[in-house]
């Protein structure tokens, strides 16, 4: 394990940057200052070096249970891998640009005897290998990029040092000064997150990601819905990740991570687990596959297994990034700085009421146990991030089954055969049924409160039919176990196929059913019909050989705003056209 840690440390060193670029405009400007005095008797000095360190206030969450942000314990942390510019005092032209190293140090070669100011952009950019662009922008100010600006100075005839610090803005009774630390605190967590990925894949090219933060970003009311208009005013509902889509509608907000900033309610810029959790969603969506249906979720919920995996992954990933299993989230409650948290190391036990394939608590506990080097009960594995990354980016990304715990664990067992027995034991300890080589949960016996949920994917063959029941009891509506039902079929030859669903008509006080159907192949939607009516059908022309998944649900159980219909059994038929 020590060797593995050292290897990780060496990989991390790869991404400590010392990229100092003097722009071509430098060193001979027409300002009349370059080449000025300061070196009597010698050649004219055209450039000097301005160097220093960039830091920000890192405000920790107090160590005690329930303690919130502890401003008295703030420390000056290095602003790592951020862009530093020297700007001409007149006109604002960029005279030189560089990047801070892993200690926050920068060095810029600038024209001598020139009036300028330093600017630290809230961005981390790198081209080549690896490559990334992460920026913190203000969604309430036309997505402006945050920047920490120094005062004007003359570069003089000799090299000089200038340190820049971004304070939190907290002055004892509240934030009465600008909250300059916030964008850099957010970036610092991103720095740790992408470096974890680079330990496993040093040449990674990351999809550009914007992180939107504002002091005005707040939760809004209970029926909060974030759209482009509300987000421009700071109503973002909660901290969340919004994945990019191919053809976004005009009202769709820009993709990225939106982060709460409301000082009197909930601000997350210093909540490292929260930011890393959302970055974990970005990671899963861009490098792996996330089939989650989203929506509200909690530890005691029995969730749709795609959602359970996604949220469990987010929590586990945050712990991996920070190497800290104690998830913490601060907020202001009744005017007091407070926090809540949980320890991913506290595995839900075999007697817990709701553990299994549908529990984000089970998922996060498992993933953390696979990763960490702590020995804890039967957890004697310490796989680190590399095999987890390999599974996420390979089997989970391209597999035919949905992104759930089953394909993940099965692939991990295959990649780390030496740990197979322990991985299986840990998984079974969470009441998750396993069978080697199975990504569909065929061996599952935990029904999630209703035997009709098993098997998790019902088989249907060409020319055949199946009845499945979309339920809201005992687990609930929207995204809980039972609402969505799944089937699978295999094609051995190319076919034109149709999938039809037929729900029951109104009966005994229940309205007409409104069944919907979606057909997937390897995570991609290949057919969808969500029209109103007690029947729906979808046709797929030229369906290639392979495994297909069918998702069926009663619409009102997913969107209960007009009242959920509840138990609705739907007949599914698969035909060749």
């Amino acid at each position: 394990m020590i060797a593995a840690l050292l290897a990780n440390a060496a990989r991390r060193a790869v991404v400590i940057f010392l990229t100092f670029t003097l722009l071509t405009a430098c060193g001979g400007s027409g300002s009349g200052n370059a080449g000025g005095g300061g070196n009597p008797g010698g050649p004219p000095i055209s450039t000097v070096v301005v160097s220093g360190r960039v830091t920000f206030d890192r405000v920790p969450i107090g160590p005690g249970s329930g303690q919130g942000l502890d401003f008295a314990a703030a420390t000056a942390a290095a602003a790592r891998a951020v862009t530093v510019e020297a700007l001409a005092q007149s006109g604002g032209a960029v005279l030189a640009t560089g990047v801070t190293d892993g200690s926050g140090n920068y060095s810029l070669t600038v024209p001598a005897n020139t009036s300028m100011q330093l600017r630290v952009k809230a961005e981390m950019r790198r081209t080549g290998t690896p490559a990334f662009t992460f920026r913190v922008r203000d969604n309430t100010a036309s997505n402006a990029l945050y920047a920490l600006d120094g005062a004007g100075f003359d570069s003089g005839a000799a090299s000089s040092q200038r340190d820049l610090h971004a304070p939190s803005g907290w002055t004892g009774a509240g934030y009465t000064n600008p909250r300059a630390a916030a964008p850099f605190a957010i970036l610092d967590t991103v720095y740790r997150a992408y470096n974890l990925v680079l330990t496993a894949a040093p040449n990674t090219s990351f999809l550009a990601l914007d992180l939107f933060w504002s002091p005005g970003n707040r939760a809004g009311g209970g029926d909060c819905q974030a759209d482009r208009t509300s987000i421009a005013t700071g109503v973002i509902c909660t901290t969340f990740y919004l994945a990019p889509v191919a053809n976004p509608g005009a009202d769709r907000p820009d993709s990225g991570i939106y982060i709460l900033g409301s000082a009197n309610d909930d601000s997350d810029e210093f909540d490292q687990h929260v930011i890393a959790h959302e970055w974990g969603h970005y990671y899963q969506q861009t490098f792996s596959r996330d089939d989650s249906v989203g929506g509200p979720h909690g530890f005691s919920d029995r969730l749709d297994f795609r959602l359970a995996f996604s949220e469990g992954w987010g929590n586990a990933f945050s712990a991996m990034v920070l190497n800290d299993s104690n998830y913490r989230d601060s907020a202001v409650v009744a005017g007091q700085q407070r926090s809540f948290g949980f320890d991913l190391e506290s595995n839900p036990g075999a007697t817990a009421a709701s553990i299994g394939w549908f529990s984000e608590n089970s998922i996060q506990s498992l993933l953390w146990d696979f990763y960490d080097d702590g020995v804890d009960g039967i957890d004697t594995v310490a796989l680190g991030f590399t095999p987890i990354h390999e599974v996420m980016t390979t089997e989970l990304r391209s597999g035919v089954a949905f992104s759930t715990i089953y394909p993940f664990v099965d692939a991990l067992r295959g990649r780390v055969p030496a740990a197979d027995a322990t991985i299986a034991a840990l998984t079974r300890n969470q009441q998750i049924g396993l069978q080697r080589g199975d990504a569909f949960g065929i061996a599952e016996t935990n029904a999630g409160g209703d035997l009709r949920n098993l098997p998790l994917y019902k088989s249907i063959s060409l020319g055949g039919a199946q009845r499945v029941c979309s339920t809201i009891a005992p687990n609930g509506t929207i995204n809980k176990v039972g609402v969505y039902q799944f089937l699978r079929f295999d094609l051995t030859t190319t076919n034109n196929v149709s999938v039809s669903v037929q729900g029951p008509p109104s009966q005994a006080g229940l309205r007409d059913a409104d069944p919907d159907v979606i057909v997937y192949r390897a995570g991609k939607v290949v057919g969808l019909n969500d029209d109103r009516g007690i029947s729906s059908a979808v046709s797929i022309t030229g369906a290639a050989p392979g495994t297909y998944l069918i998702e069926v649900y009663e619409y009102s159980n997913v969107d209960p705003s007009a009242g959920a219909r509840g138990d609705t059994c739907i007949d599914v038929a698969l035909r060749a056209n």
């Binding site: 960029v94 920490l148 610090h165 934030y175 974030a226 909660t238 969340f240 309610d265 959302e278 809540f340």
Partner: protein
């Protein structure tokens, strides 16, 4: 994709139900520590759901106040301009009489509706809505206090609740330092001032 949201695990000592997703804002009323009975907790929760846009005023002194106070400010406090503060008072236990007096500290003057009640036998759990108007006289962080006096039998109980308000410069400073400007490349920049130390 939401994330786990704030809740009070340790003190509530209840099942770890952590609401997540859009709009699941923290519920201060349900998380204030104290020796409240299950009935009081239930009243708090129900009241909190009916006043979702409001935040809880900070109760001073010991726990066990017979009322909760929540408030909302819908417009930005500005120097010299009347400001309406919407207040919700929630009786948590039966009292014979309830009287609430609103007071501003230095820099904050209550100009109308400075008292609520006295009310005889207010119904437990029934939200009493009230609007207090104040005028900020200077810029800074101020507190509107609600002093609630309840009577039950021979006993009187007084509890104070604080509602913080930020007026003028500090609020502006919190949110913006300068308006977004474009840099030489056309990138909109939200400038934040550095503390700079030359060596």
């Amino acid at each position: 994709m939401g994330r786990l949201r704030f809740a009070e695990f340790a003190l509530a000592a209840v099942a770890a139900l952590v609401l997540v997703g859009c709009g699941d804002s923290p519920d201060p009323a349900a998380t204030v520590p104290g020796p409240d009975s299950a009935q009081v907790a239930k009243v708090r929760r129900e009241a909190a759901t009916q006043t979702e846009n409001m935040v809880a005023a900070v109760a001073a002194g010991k726990p066990g106040a017979p009322i909760d106070v929540r408030f909302d400010v819908t417009t930005k406090p500005r120097l010299g301009e009347p400001l309406e503060i919407k207040v919700a008072v929630v009786p948590l236990s039966a009292v014979a009489r309830l009287h609430v007096v609103f007071q501003g500290n230095d820099g904050l003057t209550v100009t109308s509706n400075g008292e609520l009640g006295p009310l005889d036998k207010p119904k437990v759990g029934a939200i009493i809505r009230h609007v207090v108007t104040v005028v900020p006289r200077s810029e800074g962080v101020f507190t509107l206090s609600a002093v609630a006096v309840t009577e039950e039998g021979d006993a009187n109980m007084s509890r104070s609740f604080a509602m913080p308000l930020i007026v003028g410069v500090p609020d502006a400073a919190m949110n913006k330092t300068t308006s977004a400007a474009k840099d030489a490349t056309g990138q909109s920049i939200q400038s934040l001032p550095a503390v700079e130390t030359p060596h």
